[in-house]
Symmetry: C2
Subunit: 223 residues, 2 copies
Amino acid sequence: METAVVLLSGGLDSATCLAMARAEGFRCHTIAFDYGQRTRSELQAAERVSAALGAESHRVIELGMGGIGGSALTDHAIDVPENGGEGIPVTYVPARNTVFLSLALGLAEVVGADAIFIGVNAVDYSGYPDCRPEFIDAFQHLAGLATKAGVEGHPVRISTPLMALSKAEIIRRGTELGLDYSLTVSCYQADAEGRACGRCDSCRLRREGFEQALIKDPTIYQS
Amino acid sequence: METAVVLLSGGLDSATCLAMARAEGFRCHTIAFDYGQRTRSELQAAERVSAALGAESHRVIELGMGGIGGSALTDHAIDVPENGGEGIPVTYVPARNTVFLSLALGLAEVVGADAIFIGVNAVDYSGYPDCRPEFIDAFQHLAGLATKAGVEGHPVRISTPLMALSKAEIIRRGTELGLDYSLTVSCYQADAEGRACGRCDSCRLRREGFEQALIKDPTIYQS
């Protein structure tokens, strides 16, 4: 049986990614990051999802990205946008996926993982540069050079099973695998109980996904 | 005037790297990591060195790498070796330079830096895989794809001015630039006052460097 490290944010995509890794037969170690994000209920969602899907272990790694700043998700002086817009949005956290994959790579070495699963997606991808296939390919190459396992000829594989799926396809896949999406929180500004605002870009993409998948949206919205 | 992010550990190499960046005329933002390392006095040394060399800002980023484990430097159950040895040593922190460079990349985006300086060295490099030129080249490629600046055609440069220098050459260069090495702490198990053990691999490499450079070693050792 192969072992995987799975990055969990508490949102819909990474939960589906974990469900897919489990369905492929991987023993999974999940990792989430406490990086000063606006929405604390994300971290509780990640822990619930990890337990519900039978992961071997769950870790929350503290990461002082607030000391770096530059994003609406970690800097409370910047407002979260509610109307889409062009280009790379202010919710982009500088180098976030590079940082997250790097820490997952460290954990992969420690637990002897064969793969790292990350729920990035190039279809409904919000315009972040570090969600594209060429970014993942570059990280895969780096991983082979950066680590003891890589040097010894067993580089970890970076697995991105959601890369080419639409949000609706992701939701259909997860639903087929029995994933309960009411466990997840996608909203950039969810309240302490994990209830979604219904207005931010992340809420909009999620709601449209359920509509297009013709699956009832279990998201709990703020009244 | 160009701007740089400089990774500072508190040790001899990164201090020299900062001195070289300053001598090249860069405005420097320094960044250090509180990652559960054994030696807390490293972080105080980094702050001293940043101030002494006139950096624009200094940040200490918290990083819960202890939650990942797997190294003598972050896991107190593993002893620090005192006799060299073959292969990748237990002081190797899994994926450390990948993690550090990723966070420096995030800061580089926020401050609009043209370069990231990192004091890695392939000569006296302790056998860590993430100190080799091919690792740095792979990270440079990744940086061009991972960030807003990269996407917009201005990828940050990864500068490694110590890469081809011996420890003695590094010490000579820093001394020429007026760097006071008594500010720095290299020891893996320095005490609270920053006094070195004189026995670990890092102490051994440092002492041999001063001997070969024919420069008096200002290191304060534990009696």
